[in-house]
């Protein structure tokens, strides 16, 4: 059993952080409702923020390039991307900062699209105010983050397929033909599922079995 003990639990007080804040327009998705340059401006005076700007598409190649260059040029060590939901692009931006040598967990996102511009479309002022708050929260948080490293563990190169209808059959064959061992579990006495019960099938009008 591996014991997990905190080693670098706190960032030593007084350690200067160098934060970059990027407020994404997402085309018009965010900027139609939120005044992005205003948000970037208010963030620029926050403690530890070295660079703060608005950016047309943070996730695009030029967008990422710009952030990466800033990281190298200004020696940024923490990044806030204020754009869409982290459920969408957190992996993108983690990879981005990792590619220039930062630990991927030194990133924080502020969700200005799904949880602000898209849900307060008729209140641009209130939405901009909220965006300012969300970015401020993200900056506070990113200041407190510390690097994390995942562990490499061996993986079992086998797959379980639950259900032996047409989808389960296809998945099993594809996996098996690629050299992976497959466990196919079907609750009925035969595989085939609903498909096996059908006569000719569209659009080719041939037999389903």
């Amino acid at each position: 059993m591996e014991e997990n003990v905190a080693e670098n639990i706190s960032i030593s007080p007084g350690q200067a952080v160098r934060i970059g804040v990027y407020v994404c327009h997402c085309g018009l998705n965010i900027s139609r409702t939120i005044n992005c340059s205003h948000v970037a401006e208010t963030a620029s005076v926050l403690d530890g923020v070295v660079v703060s700007k608005d950016i047309a598409y943070a996730c695009s190649e030029p967008g990422q390039q710009e952030i990466k260059e800033d990281i190298l040029e200004h020696g940024l060590d923490r990044i806030v991307v204020a754009s869409c939901s982290p459920r969408l692009h957190e992996p993108t931006f983690r990879q981005m900062i990792q590619s220039v040598g930062l630990n991927p967990f030194l990133l924080e996102m502020a969700n200005l699209r799904e949880q602000c511009s898209w849900v307060h479309m008729n209140e641009p002022d209130a939405a901009t105010q909220k965006a300012v708050t969300l970015v401020k929260m993200a900056v506070s948080r990113v200041r407190m983050l510390w690097p994390l490293v995942g562990e490499r563990v061996p993986l079992t190169k086998r797959a379980l397929v639950i259900g032996g209808g047409i989808a389960g059959i296809q998945a099993s064959l594809d996996l098996a033909d690629n050299g992976y061992e497959v466990i196919l579990v079907e609750k009925r006495p035969s595989i085939g599922g609903t498909m096996a019960q059908l006569d000719k099938t569209f659009p080719t009008m041939d037999c389903s079995i």
Partner: protein, 602 residues
């Protein structure tokens, strides 16, 4: 199908169900219950002598009850594995052996009544969920008379009837008089696109299935009259419109309008009354046979699998994908993928496409042979642990061990920890923290949020898997709600420490919402039970302290409940507006006094 049976890399377990899944991405431990077949799978040649001898006659499920089978049977001639099976509940020969005629008939001696159910353990790196569908049962749509009138069939029954391998060898006959019908009607959207009965969604396949059936019918019987009653014909796929046009050209009558009523005539035929919405006229059509194009419902096994793997469902009851466009075959649980109708109604081509996609995603995960674990796990702060054992009690994964008697500090097994953070929230001594969601990291967000105009803010804690995703879903659907709402994300609602909530009220928060997955849907098995207990306790404490307990709310919001998320936010805003500045000031006073006391008592 036969390829699966003979593939050296595929281990096929039929009559089997997954009972339990433990572990996580890369290394899932799976328990499978394999029910006894009572026939040796490898030895049986499917000669059928046993079935000839069997005296028990039962309806044949494969032919949806349109023919019979014996208690020892093969589901259909091409079955894989090609071995007979005994339905032990129907068999006469089992315990005590009174029949055993099949055993005498089987020359190879494949039948073995001593077989018993087996529990099989397997270890796998990834899981493809392809649990399929359940055809809609149209009995509840009484106006169509299914089960009341014998010549009203479902599309699945019709499939068996015109199938060369079916009960009539492909001969279309009516069961009432064994004569070939001269006219057939098809009713579309049975159990689909109706919020009232069945499902509100389109089942995707029924239009094309009916078009195919009309073409097959016209091919066999050129003189047959066919009428299709529909809302719209959805022939959206490649080559579909072409088939639809062929069907129209062959003389099939397409009539826009769903029948309101079906009556049986003395000769067993059916009188359909329908408002033709193209002409606006009420029409009556006498038809020899009526086929209900039934929709696709989620499989019954969905609930069990959802609980085992910590998956989410859409409101329609199908599995919810991690992202509708960019991760359409990934589950939110890492290492789990969807294929086929488990994820939503689809036709064969789409099922095959999705299965191949799921395979590619699964190989992408597995091909390196190693996996990097999520470092978002709980960690012990040495020296603070007093060995009380609460963390071990609340951990849904048994990842923490504490020897309470010997006063040994807690040990956290990071490989088993999934990162819900319940232990960190429950530890009375602050001896456990959560990587990436530490107390400091969350408290500083609360401070930043409430620094300015605290009274105008609604503080929402949302769990990553359900409520935060539900908020995203509200956004994607452009459902508007008050801008006072500010969300703090945690992996699980179980992470929301009582101190976060006290801190928020101390900093002037008018209202706080804790939101998570519905009970039973928690991504971390049952961590949200602890959330519920904690919030209830806090509300009681608030009442005692003279703080209105309704200022702290707890709501379960799933990833698919965008509308509900917005409704809850509107409710929170309403509660916020009822909280006066005086109340907030009083609360701050009460809590700062309490904080001092707590600090002194420590």
């Amino acid at each position: 199908m036969t390829d699966v049976g003979r593939h050296p890399k595929i281990k096929l377990h039929t009559m089997s169900e997954v009972m339990d899944v433990e572990g996580s991405v890369g290394n899932f431990n799976v328990s499978i219950l394999k029910r006894a077949r009572y026939v040796e799978e490898k030895d049986c040649t499917a000669c059928g002598d046993c079935a000839k001898a069997c005296p028990v006659v039962r309806p044949d499920e494969f032919n949806v009850g349109l023919s019979t089978r014996k208690a020892i049977f093969t589901p259909f001639p091409q079955a894989v594995p090609s071995a007979y099976v005994v339905n032990i509940n129907e068999c006469l020969g089992h315990n005590p052996s009174v029949c055993a005629k099949c055993m005498d008939a089987c020359e190879k001696g494949c039948i073995n009544f001593h077989m018993s159910d087996e529990e099989i353990k397997e270890r796998v790196g990834s899981i493809v969920v392809a649990t399929g569908l359940e055809p809609y049962d149209p009995t509840e749509l009484d106006e169509y008379g299914y089960t009341r009138f014998e010549n009203v069939l479902t599309s699945l029954e019709f499939e068996r009837l015109i199938n060369a391998g079916g009960p009539t060898k492909g001969e279309l006959i009516r069961s009432t008089d064994r004569r070939r019908p001269k006219s057939i009607g098809f009713i579309q959207c049975v159990g689909s696109r109706s919020v009232r009965k069945g499902g509100g969604y389109c089942s995707n396949v029924c239009c094309m299935n009916t078009i195919k059936s009309t073409l097959v019918l016209k091919e066999h019987y050129t003189d047959i009259t066919i009428k299709v009653f529909y809302i719209d014909i959805r022939a959206f796929g490649k080559g579909f419109e072409d088939l639809y046009m062929r069907s129209r050209r062959s003389g099939v009558h397409y009539l826009r309008g769903l029948p309101g009523n079906v009556e049986e005539l003395p000769n067993g035929s059916l009188r359909v009354s329908v408002e033709n919405t193209a002409s606006g006229m009420l029409e009556f059509h006498d038809l020899d046979m009526l086929v209900l194009a039934i929709g696709i419902k989620p499989a019954k096994s969905v609930q069990k699998i959802r609980e085992m793997l910590g998956l989410q469902l859409t409101p329609d009851g199908f599995f919810l994908e991690a992202h509708p466009k960019l991760q359409p075959v990934d589950a939110a649980t890492r290492g789990v993928f969807y294929a086929g109708c488990a994820e939503g109604p689809k036709d064969i081509k789409e099922s095959v496409t999705q299965a191949s996609a799921a395979t590619a995603r699964s190989i992408r995960l597995m091909h390196k042979g190693e996996i990097i674990t999520e470092p978002i796990t709980s960690v012990l702060i040495p020296g603070l642990c007093k060995s009380c054992g609460i963390c071990a009690e609340v951990c849904p994964y048994n990842a923490i061990t504490v020897d309470v008697k010997k006063k040994m500090p807690a040990m956290i097994n990071s490989a088993a920890c999934a990162g819900c953070g319940t232990c960190a929230a429950e530890c009375p001594f602050g001896a456990i923290t959560m990587n990436h969601f530490t107390d400091d990291q969350i408290i500083c967000q609360i401070d930043a949020m409430l620094e300015d105009k605290a009274q105008e803010k609604v503080l929402v804690f949302a769990c990553n898997w359900c409520s935060y995703a539900g908020a995203d879903y509200a956004g994607v659907s452009r459902i508007q709600y008050p801008a006072s709402v500010n969300i703090i994300r945690t992996m699980c609602s179980g992470r929301v420490d009582k101190n976060f909530i006290w801190h928020a009220f101390l900093k002037g928060a008018p209202v706080v919402l804790v939101s998570g997955c519905h009970i039973g849907d928690c991504h971390y098995i049952d961590a949200n039970h602890w959330t519920q207990k904690r919030v209830q306790k806090l509300q009681k404490k608030m009442e005692k302290l003279g703080i209105k307990p309704n200022r702290l709310q707890l709501e379960w919001i799933s990833a698919a409940e965008g509308v509900r998320f917005a409704d809850v936010m509107n409710k929170m805003e309403k509660i916020r507006q009822e909280v006066s500045s005086q109340e907030i000031a009083d609360t701050i006073k009460i809590l700062s006094r309490r904080k001092k006391q707590v600090l002194l008592s420590d």
